[in-house]
């Protein structure tokens, strides 16, 4: 089975977020870039399927700027992906999910794929648009928020569950298929030191922007014309309720919630 995993670098959860003066970008200092959480699960699931289906291979692909994109691709190789493709995105270009999907479609033309795996959404922008937009461009079915993804070789079908808002659906589908993963069978593995060292020397296939842009024609500019970040006013810390007895604490809190916060009548 030929498996492609879409991966994205995102700031790790403890990174300090500080927009620059115009708000157009986050200050790079204080940000540690890591593989997005759901993408980690997607890589894990790809590697589990590879181990379960003899003759499979896994290629990870990412569209993003230097140097972080190359770093997360190497991290994915260290986890066990066989090959990696980096489509270079010019620094400072607004992140446009449809542009990203179109770029990935061009990159995918080069590689056979029975299954495309992605995280159900990115850990930073949480948009969740790229997988389904890409599936539409490729003309394949897609399912998001997927857990328990299995391959049934005799029937040549994938079986999995989609976790929706109020329940879940069981799905059976043939490839090629695009899956937005919520959870792999296992917690994502961590890379071993020898594999990390080896991944530093691994070949990363590069697709420069100057090669991709002409393929996109009018779409190369994207549809998002500007992107700015702002921080919410800092939370000042909780107002603590004074009380003598649990009943008094309850009474005071309920009064505040009704009269001041107005969260229920």
């Amino acid at each position: 089975m030929e498996i492609v995993v879409l991966v994205k670098p995102v700031p790790d959860a403890e990174s300090r977020l500080r927009p620059n003066a115009g708000g157009t970008e986050l200050d790079g200092e204080g940000i540690k870039w890591v593989l997005s959480g759901y993408d980690e699960s997607a890589v894990e699931q790809a590697l589990l399927l590879k181990a379960a289906v003899p003759g499979s291979s896994v290629r990870c692909i990412s569209f993003g700027p230097a140097p972080r994109t190359e770093e997360v691709l190497r991290a994915s190789v260290a986890l066990g992906c066989d090959r990696a493709t980096w489509v270079e995105r010019p620094v400072g270009m607004p992140a446009d999910p449809l542009l990203c999907a179109r770029v990935l479609r061009e990159a995918l033309r080069k590689y056979p794929h029975d299954l495309i795996l992605a995280g159900k959404q990115a850990g930073d922008d949480e948009e969740g648009i790229v997988p389904s937009a890409l599936a539409e461009l490729l003309g394949v079915e897609s399912f998001g928020s997927v857990v328990d993804l299995r391959w049934h070789a005799e029937e040549k079908r994938f079986r999995f569950q989609c976790v929706l808002d109020s329940g879940s659906e069981k799905v059976e589908a043939a490839g090629p298929l695009l899956i937005g993963l919520q959870q792999a069978w296992n917690d994502p593995r961590t890379a071993t030191l020898p594999n990390i060292l080896r991944s530093r020397k691994a070949t990363i296939d590069r697709l420069p922007w100057s090669d991709v842009a002409p393929l996109l024609g009018a779409f190369s500019a994207g549809r998002t014309t500007s992107q700015r970040f702002r921080l919410p006013p800092p939370r000042t810390g909780a107002r603590l309720i004074d009380y003598q007895s649990p009943e008094e604490a309850a009474e005071k809190l309920v009064k505040i919630l009704r009269e001041e916060a107005k969260v229920f009548p």
Binding site: A13, T224, L240
Partner: protein
């Protein structure tokens, strides 16, 4: 010129969903009195939902109804919406922020060559015929402001970020549309089972609730989790949990709030016996009002909460449940 807007609503148990009402409200304020608001429902058993939609500020309602559509794939939904968009001459499509419809946003935008965003909490028209959208990112630690280029935009809204539409008279006409056959690229077509409900508590679902009460390791044992469930029931709230609870198997993974669970943004979030680890906080910090109950005054949860009670949850929570039941006339 005000845009004409198509709202793709959803029915849950035959009723129009809360986020659909919110989307209709946003649609009307975008369209003003010049632009037209079309409501669209796709699925099965839509009589009540479409009748309600017709009274929520729409100019017309269209219903694509077929038993087979209850388990339609996203590509089928996208094809149906695309066909409706063509006929209705709209420039903005608004979707609710449900899991399925967020997926639909990407599909539809690709098919219709539109600009697109999901999780919007603010929305306004721009000079150039596009939209300016704000959306929380990084688990609510920052807000991203995007200018979406016109003349075609698709936006999925974040649930509970906008007030619901109010009732208008007279009701708009409801038109039934035939469900066209939609071949898929895959052969054979995917088989999708009926939805199996995971609404174990019978209360609202996590993603959709206006109030969420979550419990953490501070509850000490699975049988104590009922304290959280009783508090939630008194408030008509959904129940959530920290990963300490789901990892220990006290409650299923679908309860988990946080980085590797669900992100929620209700009007009120109550954290009971939860320390406030960053991985939990990113999943709830966008809630409008946060209340924490924890015995440790230094617990980080008090830094993100608006109101706090430092104390033993085993004493506080039952008292709180009792008080809420009292003021709500439940006992």
């Amino acid at each position: 010129m005000r845009p004409s807007v198509l709202v793709v609503g959803e029915a849950v148990h035959g009723q129009l969903s809360g986020p659909s009402r919110e989307a209709l409200n946003v649609a009307r304020s975008l369209a003003g009195s010049e632009g037209r608001v079309t409501g669209l429902l796709i699925g099965h058993g839509l009589a009540a939902a479409s009748a309600e939609m017709a009274t929520l500020g729409t100019d017309r309602v269209r219903v694509v109804e077929d038993a087979a559509l209850t388990s339609a794939t996203c590509s089928t939904l996208a094809a149906i919406v695309r066909a409706e968009v063509e006929g209705a001459q709209v420039s903005v499509v608004l979707l609710t922020g449900s899991v399925r419809y967020r997926e639909l946003a990407g599909r539809l935008a690709a098919r219709w060559d539109a600009s697109v965003a999901t999780g919007a909490t603010e929305l306004s028209p721009t000079e150039g015929g596009g939209l300016r959208v704000a959306r929380p990112v990084f688990g609510g630690r920052a807000t991203e402001e995007l200018d979406l280029g016109g003349p075609r935009c698709v936006v999925a809204l974040r649930p509970h970020a906008f007030p619901p539409a109010s009732t208008t008279a007279p009701a708009a006409p409801v038109e039934r549309r035939a469900s066209p056959p939609f071949p898929t690229g895959n052969a054979p077509a995917p088989k999708v089972s009926a939805l199996e409900s995971t609404e174990v508590t019978g209360g609202p679902s996590l993603g959709d609730a206006t109030i969420v009460v979550s419990g953490g390791r501070g509850l000490r044992a699975p049988e104590n989790f009922r304290l959280v469930e009783e508090l939630a029931a008194s408030l008509g709230a959904a129940v959530g949990a920290s990963r300490a609870v789901t990892d220990a198997g006290w409650r299923p993974g679908s309860y988990q709030v946080g980085q590797t669970g669900r992100s929620v943004a209700p009007q009120l979030y109550v954290a009971v016996g939860i320390s406030g680890a960053i991985q939990h906080v990113v999943g709830m910090v966008s809630s409008r009002v946060i209340v924490a109950i924890n015995s440790d005054a230094q617990a980080p949860i008090f830094r993100v909460a608006d109101y706090g009670i430092v104390g033993d949850l085993f004493a506080i929570v039952p008292a709180l449940t009792k008080e809420i039941r009292k003021v709500r006339g439940l006992s």
